[in-house]
Amino acid sequence: MDEMEKRLVACFSAVLPELAPEEISQATAASVQNWDSVATVTLLAVVEEEFGISIDHEDPARFDSFKGILTYLQQAVR
């Protein structure tokens, strides 16, 4: 797990505290009960704060899984 992934895991852990650390990398909005629209908005706000970026909220489907957000970050932060 690289540094970016670790920081993203910490963001998930703050917003979805019921997720065990080992579950986070596989998490999707469909599989996590408390991952609703408010959780998405909060998660993206925490990610923006953590990585100092401004996320384009178009195409929200990109942000409905840990992997989707990680992929977005890998492109946005470079």
Binding site: A10, V41, T42, A45, V46
Partner: protein, 578 residues
């Protein structure tokens, strides 16, 4: 505070097993992260409570304020933004703009603002309310360039100023200071256009955090510090008195020492508000007294009592001042320009707030004044505030008189023409009563503290009673100095709260309170919800004296027992109201 930190705090708060502090947040915006920041900040303030934030419906500010009026909450927070008063003042509306529409916007805002004002005024009768007026900039509706104030902007400001002024007159309403908000959250960095469009939450995180912090602080009534001990040289004035002499010290523009005069003016204001002021200075006392004879001082030197000018350690001077004031170290601020002196005092009194006076740094002195205002700030000045310093001087004189004459305490008390006044009125609740309950540590039955709402709720019980005792003698009034709150059940009283100001010790007022309760309610027994605390030894000693043994939880005093123990009471003149 960062959002992730707020979430982390909330996680900890949710694990608390205590009763929840419930706050209703009434706003027309999507409260989203504001809720998170507010809950986290409240969690930090109310360390022994869970936090529950209730909401209304999105886009319905007036409806939400009405919901708040009926909510089962301990406190209400009303956050108003321009778009709540007229949707055309927000960016989510599709209504057209043109110069002619401005008058209609003003009329709509006036109507909605008046409705909100009335609801706030009504709701504040039953719970404390925090009100925040618009914090976001107006959109560019008006035809004038942005650097010119438009008639729309001026008109809207006038409406808000009027409402702000009206609601701030209500006893239980506290209005968020827009000046303080401006200092911690610049206007340009508040509005989040993207977030407003996507979620209906218009604040940037930093602004939401600042707002959450200030709203939370307003939710809890301030517990101001009681006393300030100041150094003199390079603090109250510029220069070392012993070196430059009386005419060499300064506090004016001419000598570039004006900020010492500014500090003096602040101390003068604090004294007038009831703050105790003392001096701890390494100086010759006679020289200090001569310096205080200078006519151009920006304060009256009589506000300082005691004046400790000597060459001994400052911690010893602080000890003597604390003894005269009879207050705990955690209620006191010590200011000195010397880091060494501060460290020496801090080593003896870690609870005293020690602050270095930043001599020759004018900006830092200004900031110190702001900090002191926060430390000593209170929502209202009560009668007791104006007589506190005088009564301490009198008590000190009384003690000296007693030492000089060596008469028995009871004999001495008989000669002071003591008059105790008992007031049992529950409506309206005397704000001084809650102040005393939440500030008093030493003569305190159990250290139980109340929020304004929980205090009010307590007296909704018809069996409850409130006793507020005031005291005066030939040396002058002490004001309201004791509070007893409890419930009657048949021929028994249960006392849940009993506090007495340390200024009223050694006057047998505690005996008079008990006697008055037996007489007023015709009861046989008083049960006390006594809890031993680290600081309530005066109360413990009194109960031990009455009970003839160390008090325990739920201990009781019978009428007969009190009559046996309180023979020392020498019929002070007394009046009962309510």
């Amino acid at each position: 505070m960062k959002l992730v930190e707020a979430l982390d705090i909330i996680k900890g708060v949710e694990k608390r097993s205590a009763e929840a502090f419930t706050c209703f947040l009434a706003t027309g915006l999507n409260p989203l992260h504001l809720t998170t920041f507010l809950a986290a900040e409240l969690g930090l303030l109310f360390t022994d409570r869970k936090i529950e934030i209730q909401h209304g419906l999105y886009g319905d500010l007036l409806g939400n304020v009405r919901r708040l009026a009926k909510a089962d909450a301990e406190s209400g927070v009303v956050v108003i933004e321009w778009a709540d008063l007229d949707a055309r003042l927000g960016i989510r509306s599709s209504a057209r703009w043109n110069p002619a529409v401005c008058a209609d916007i003003l009329a709509t805002v006036q109507t909605h603002a008046s409705q909100i004002q009335r609801t706030i005024e009504e709701t504040s009768q039953r719970m404390p309310l925090i009100v925040c007026f618009p914090t976001l900039p107006l959109p560019p509706i008006s035809f004038v360039p942005g650097w010119q104030a438009s008639s729309l902007e001026i008109g809207l400001d006038a409406i808000m100023q009027s409402v702000r002024s009206q609601v701030s007159q209500c006893d239980q309403v506290r209005v968020l200071s827009s000046q303080r908000l401006d200092m911690v959250s610049p206007l340009r960095e508040r509005f989040d256009v993207e977030s407003e469009l996507v979620t209906g939450f218009p604040y940037r995180l930093a602004h939401a955090s600042a707002l959450g912090s200030l709203l939370a602080q307003l939710t809890r009534k301030p517990v101001p510090k009681k006393g300030l001990i100041t150094d003199l040289d390079d603090t109250l004035w510029r220069g070392i008195l012993g070196e430059v002499g009386i005419e060499g010290i300064s506090w004016d523009l001419e000598h570039r020492s004006q900020m010492h005069g500014f500090y003096q003016r602040l101390l003068g204001a604090l004294a007038a508000e009831g703050v105790l002021l003392g001096i701890a200075s390494k100086n010759e006392r006679s020289l200090v007294e001569s310096a205080f004879g200078r006519k151009d001082l920006a304060l009256s030197p009589t506000i300082f009592f005691p004046l400790e000018a000597s060459w001994g350690p400052k911690s010893e001077a602080v000890a003597r001042i604390l003894k005269v004031w009879n207050v705990g170290p955690d209620s006191v601020v010590f200011i000195d320009d010397s880091a060494l002196e501060l460290a020496e005092v801090r080593a003896s009194y870690p609870d005293v707030e020690c602050i270095q006076f930043p001599t020759k740094n004018n900006v830092a002195i200004y900031d110190l004044a702001l900090r002191l205002r926060d430390l000593f700030g209170k929502s209202a000045i009560l009668e007791e505030d104006s007589i506190r310093a005088q009564s301490i001087r009198r008590s000190h004189a009384d003690a000296n008189a007693y030492e000089a004459t060596k008469v028995m305490p009871t004999t001495f008390l008989e000669g002071v023409e003591a008059e105790v006044n008992f007031n049992f009125n529950k409506t309206p609740l005397d704000p001084r009563a809650l102040d005393l309950v939440n500030k008093t540590n030493q003569f305190n039955l159990n250290a139980k503290r109340y929020t304004e709402a929980s205090w009010q709720n307590y007296f909704h019980n018809p069996a409850s009673f409130l006793l507020v005792a005031s005291y005066t003698d030939k040396y002058g009034p002490l004001g309201k100095i004791a509070v007893v709150a409890g419930r009657q059940s048949g021929r028994k009283l249960s006392i849940d709260t009993w506090v007495m100001s340390c200024r009223a010790f050694s006057r047998r007022i505690e005996y008079r309170c008990l006697e008055e309760l037996f007489v007023k309610f015709g009861i046989d027994e008083i049960e006390l919800d006594y809890v031993r605390t680290d600081r309530n030894s005066p109360l413990r000693e009194f109960l031990g004296e009455v009970l003839g043994e160390a008090p325990s939880s739920g201990c009781a005093i019978s009428r007969q027992l009190l009559e046996t123990r309180s023979k020392i009471v020498r019929e002070p003149q007394e009046m009962t109201n309510g």
